[in-house]
Symmetry: C2
Subunit: 200 residues, 2 copies
DNA sequence: AGGTACGTAACGAGCGTTCGGTATGTAAGG
DNA sequence: CCTTACATACCGAACGCTCGTTACGTACCT
């Protein structure tokens, strides 16, 4: 029996955290094994001991980033309808430095993902999961009368994801013009626009 | 007098077109001077004859891409209100292979732009210009009664840009799920949601 | 003793950039 | 009109560097 098998996965997570740090700082163009090793004070040989290739290291870092993001402590989460959707989308926006770093990593990863079929499929899957997490709240909102009965939850989920990620990109490039309160006002404006007249 | 000074700028545009081609195909991670030179059948020395550094070459290619995009022939352009906005946003969406390649380049460039202050400022300026081009149509729409009188054109412009770019990203990663008619339906749904009840 | 967990050093490839050379012009001088 | 002079436009090779990856050595644990 291999000794301390849990430690191995813990070390891989340490490495992934260093990858996140480098990515948020320098982007994928500045992501080198030497930079990752330096960020955690180890050698590149150590990295290769836990990952066979750089590509595997990157893929694991992105997978783990999604997982840890899903598990992270979140703001209070109303359980129903548009209020629940609002809380979900608020958790995506770059309102804290942590969320900003996370979003920088995702936006940066799109360059690689567009050029690498496997990583591109991973990204497409992440969007599928994101829309799937949103759609139930839209269905509930429709049942609660917060949305018109004619609303299409699947299409609206894609629209909400589009809006929030498009806002993320603009906010990352111009944080001075998109402080937290502006982002929140835009989100509330968006939610008000899709909601049914009688619920406004 | 330097001979044929106009030819020099024409050559720089030839180079930029090769840069676009490589970027759309391989992304920034695959953008090398050798790849650009090979794409146009010349040597890397020729590239350095027209651009001092790779960075300058990239910056010029992106600047020219924005300029040529603005000048390109467009679909018929209604001159007023939401119909004009619809035409503008339709021109952004990846509905043709040209538009897809263009959008791939922009999305890919965000990795570099987030890590390079000067390129990031360029990108922020492009967003400012994009919102500025949209806002007048929103003001006209409001004056025409297509939008509520309480609508904030500046915020709505940022919201529209967010929606359309967020949709671009999802469509690039999952073209099968976002064919042209779905993208157009989503855009029309978005425009309907922001328009005033009486104009619907 | 033998496997695990590293560090150190090096390899070959590929990178941006530099350099020297060679055509091809245009311009000036007699 | 020919010659000399010089800038322009490129090519091909090379430089110095950094990259991902490999090989090897060593300390530690069991």
């Amino acid at each position: 029996m291999p000794p301390a098998l849990g430690d191995r996965e813990a070390r891989r997570e340490d490495v992934s955290r260093a990858v996140w740090h480098v990515l948020a700082d320098k982007g994928f163009g500045g992501l080198t094994l030497r930079a990752v090793a330096a960020a955690m004070g180890v050698s590149t040989g150590m990295l290769m001991h836990y990952f066979p290739t750089k590509r595997a290291l990157v893929a694991h870092a992105l997978d783990l980033l999604e997982k840890r993001t899903a598990e992270r402590p979140r703001r209070e989460r109303p359980s129903e309808g548009l209020a629940a959707l609002r809380a979900m989308l608020l958790d995506v926006l770059p309102l804290t430095s942590d969320d900003t770093a996370r979003n920088r990593i995702w936006v940066s990863s799109w360059d690689l993902a567009l050029a690498d079929d496997a990583l591109g499929a991973d990204q497409a899957d992440r969007y599928v999961r994101m829309r799937s997490g949103i759609r139930p709240h839209l269905e509930a909102a429709r049942d609660l009368g917060e949305l018109p009965v004619t609303a299409d939850p699947e299409q609206l989920a894609a629209t909400a994801v589009a809006f929030v990620h498009g806002l993320v990109v603009q906010a990352l490039f111009d944080p001075g013009r998109f402080p937290g309160d502006v982002q929140i006002a835009m989100l509330d404006g968006f939610l008000a626009s899709i909601s049914s007249p009688r619920s406004r």
